[in-house]
Symmetry: C2
Subunit: 277 residues, 2 copies
């Protein structure tokens, strides 16, 4: 897919709301974008429901593919259908055990809520303690926005990282505890992209031009996305490359943009450059 990114990641999103189409999976996009920008190749995204066996199967399958990271979203909260940790434990043949560090994090949260007058009691009810029952050998990751901690578990050379489904919590734990880990593994590889827009040309006429440009520029990946309506064709052309420095990347992308623009114009198309990251 993308030339140089060798550190692989999978994303497993848990939640019936995703399978009934109630919720748009913005978490998967956010994570995929952030991981890619950190130099990680996201190889697969899997969505399953709030079912221990379904979660365990998805995890088992992902682990067998040996990505460096598996990030899960959702299913860490206090309700009966928050089943991600049970699913992970099941996949790993480990037990869930009370993690004192996680329990302390949760306890402190509820004490803050009591002080703020949001709840009457910080009592550690069974539903609250549930969030501190982690697979054996797991480490909690602090959640500065909500209550349920994130969870990190090492299995062979894979780190499984379980994040909450609430976007603000998921993002906060990713930023504080996960992004650094990913960056460290990815090293100094960076992902660069740019867009061209072509009008007055249909995708099947553009296709052989992309073949030429990709052949001449093996380090740039070119993908066309038809965007317009049928009567007014409009194609977004996405160029991407990975490199250790932005000059190399910009030179590569610039060269392709010039070549492809010329080819499109020869076929009667119009070209607009939009933005370059």
């Amino acid at each position: 897919m993308v030339v140089d990114m060798s550190v692989q990641m999978e994303i497993v999103c848990v939640g019936n709301e995703l399978l009934i189409g109630k919720t748009l999976n913005t978490n998967a996009q956010w994570l995929a974008k952030r991981a890619t920008s950190l130099g990680i190749a996201v190889k697969r995204i899997t969505v399953v429901g709030d079912d221990v066996e379904e979660i365990a199967n998805a995890l088992r399958e992902a682990i067998q593919r040996k990505p460096r990271f598996i990030i899960t979203t959702g299913g860490l909260g206090p309700t009966f259908d928050d089943k991600t940790l049970e699913g992970i434990a099941n996949a790993l043949n480990r037990k869930l055990e009370l993690n004192n560090k996680a329990l302390q994090m949760i306890k402190e949260k509820y004490e803050v809520y009591v002080k703020a007058g949001r709840i009457g009691s910080a009592e550690l009810t069974p539903h609250r303690v549930k969030m501190a029952k982690l697979p054996e050998g797991a480490e909690p990751l602090p959640n500065f926005v909500g209550t349920a901690p994130g969870v990190q578990i090492k299995v062979g050379n894979t780190d499984i990282i379980a994040l909450p489904g609430v976007p603000s919590e998921m993002e906060a734990i990713f930023d504080s505890s996960v992004a650094g880990m990913l960056k460290k593994e990815a090293g100094n590889i960076m992902f660069f992209e740019a867009n061209l827009y072509a009008d007055n040309i249909v995708e099947s006429t553009l296709a052989p031009l992309i073949d030429i440009a990709m052949h001449d520029n093996p380090y740039v990946y070119i993908k066309s996305h038809p965007r317009g309506e049928e009567k007014k064709p409009h194609i977004e052309i996405h160029l991407s490359t990975t490199a250790k420095d932005s000059k190399t990347a910009k030179d590569r992308l610039g060269k392709v943009m010039i070549q492809l623009s010329e080819l499109i114009k020869e076929k009667g198309g119009k070209v607009k450059t939009f933005k370059s990251l």
Copy 2:
């Protein structure tokens, strides 16, 4: 997950743009919502890149789980990285062969484009013919919006249906050729849902109340979604059920809404009903 929906479906979305977070997977949500509303249980959504082996693996795995339907999105177009049909053929150990019905559909499209002055020639170039190379035994599904036909392939008791990635084309083929198939299989089972909103209560306090309501109402699934910011908790409570008629469903959902509202108020929470479908 949902009580009565026994006809199962999986969705496999193909596209690097989804794995780099460039594109939000609105296709998966649209399909999941439509399938659910037709009485079909979506069990899994898988996203893979534009890679024959990755696509074939995802298809092979999905087929082994024996859902009644597998719908794929993306990768049917004329460019080098439109690889879904090759991936499906690979998974099924079938060859790609020129399908004359598909070729005719494509030919007619380009003739229309020529008449409309959009392209100079309707010549069936290799990139255009590529869209008519389907796995052996496949049937093309007409695409009234774009060029690449959808594709239907039967494998045992599973129908694989490949749809384009452009949302307007995907939706049009679904509506004209797929929705009826799904409805026929699902029979007269329908999915119903309603929302409650609770303020002034945290999720861990709500959790045991949901347990009570679910215990007393085994045909209703209740799921809480924290929506507010930390300082202003706001929880959306989603109730769903499946039934053969709307009266049964509304009675069930209404009963739970009353019971749950009472329980929440007893704990000092505030309740708002929002909408009921």
